[in-house]
Amino acid sequence: MQEVSLEFKGLKQGLYAVYKGPTNFEDFLGALEAKLESAGSFFEGAYLAGVYGIELDDIEEDILAETLQNRYGIKIKRPLSSKESPSRPETNGDRVTKFVYSTLRSGQRVSYEGNVVVLGDVNAGAEVEAGGSIVVMGALRGSARAGVPDNHDASVSAILLQPIQLRIGEIAVRWPDEKTYSSEPEMAYIEQGRMYVRPIYDRK
């Protein structure tokens, strides 16, 4: 069975529904309604500007517009844009951030779909996972995975960047044993499919 997922991205033009799943209208509408139901009245008054992952014809757009307007109070832009990708839908700025106000010790784990900021250390044996970026205001000695599942715009920064293993998106690296400790905070990021580490002040 194909996995069905639907996420909203908020951009300047309005909401964008990013859909992954079988490309028939019923499945899409089902996923959309399920998402809206679970959000309560959160999206009331919103404006849907585009849909990605499925092409809708005029009749389907009519049904969609009516359903959204009547049941959820959401207006849609006609015609819905679907071709061009919204300007960087995965940028970290759009994500919500979770703050962890303590050191993560061995065996402790934090996982969040947005960004994660740890105000403390991440010790060896602890794990941090984020859909966006990870910032550790201390030593990162455990393992970190940013940009889950495949966001290459994500980064991992720490005052002392010394993880056992680091992953951004699907790119994983083992930390080189011989890497000397930097006295400056460092950031790991992806550029053209490769991971780089630089002092945070140097990046671009």
């Binding site: 061995s106 250390d121 060896a124």
Partner: protein
């Protein structure tokens, strides 16, 4: 009202039992009424280290099951008037008692004793949960090895989750000669990772092996450097400010003489 202190580590073999026996004895020497509770049910050996094995009649499981009265199970150490031991059962396992029962037991012991020291088993399972259930404070023992420090970190996390915050650290079996050569983690590195207060540093000492085999805590031996370190830990628990031991190894007569001459 006394205080219940659990001595724990996560990893096995780092010296929890030795630390319990010696800190407890040192507290008793300093005039406190102390009971040592062996929570390592099924693998007891605090009684062996204390040299009290042959006097066990009842054990901690008998007490919580109501087979005997608490007083009957407590073994009085004849060498130290205020030191008692509550031994673990050897023929049962960790599930023989529950955290609630341990908590109740600690409450009762607290009424009578100034200090209740609990020797925690290795691991993070039932035995650990039992041992920390009634504790007011925790002492985490580690050795200067990466694996022991990792486990200590895990244990501190679990203690914090059980609201046994700010445990104190004892670093056991330090060899200052190896630390100086950079072959062993130094205490600062460990404090840096674990981020808890240091309670004491105990040197690696052959006299511990001898005293353990004889069943006589090393704090009773004036020549034992480790014994001295444990005694200092007990004093710090009592609120005294004691400077950390100078763990310099004895360099021998000739080296000392040379140093003396070169100073002139």
């Amino acid at each position: 009202m006394g205080e219940v202190i659990v001595i724990t580590s996560g990893k096995g073999g780092v010296g929890k039992t030795t630390a319990t026996a010696n800190i407890g004895t040192a507290l008793a020497v300093n005039g406190k009424k102390v009971v040592l509770v062996d929570a390592d049910i099924g693998l007891r050996n605090l009684d062996v280290v204390m040299g009290l094995e042959n006097r066990i009649v009842y054990d901690v499981v008998d007490v919580v099951e109501g087979v005997c009265r608490l007083r009957q199970a407590l073994i009085k150490d004849k060498r130290y008037p205020d030191l008692f031991l509550l031994p673990a059962a050897q023929t049962k396992d960790k599930n023989a008692v529950s955290p609630a029962q341990m908590q109740e037991l600690c409450e009762r012991l607290k009424q009578e004793f100034d200090f209740v020291l609990i020797d925690c088993p290795a691991g993070i399972e039932q035995g650990f949960k039992n041992a920390i259930a009634g504790a007011d404070r925790a002492i985490v023992v580690t050795t200067p090895e990466i694996s022991a420090v990792r486990d200590a970190d895990r244990i501190i996390g679990l203690l914090e989750a059980s609201e046994l915050g700010s445990p104190k650290l004892v670093v056991n079996r330090v060899r200052i000669d190896m630390v100086k050569k950079g072959d062993m983690m130094n205490t600062e590195d460990m404090i840096d990772i674990l981020a808890i207060d240091l309670l004491g540093v105990v040197p690696d000492d052959e006299s511990i092996v001898v005293s353990t085999n004889r069943g006589e805590p090393a704090v009773g031996d004036n020549r034992s450097l480790a014994g001295k370190a444990f005694n200092n830990i007990a004093l710090r628990i009592l609120g005294h400010e004691v400077p950390f031991l100078d763990l310099e190894v004895d360099e021998g007569f000739l080296v000392k003489l040379l140093k003396l001459i070169s100073k002139r």
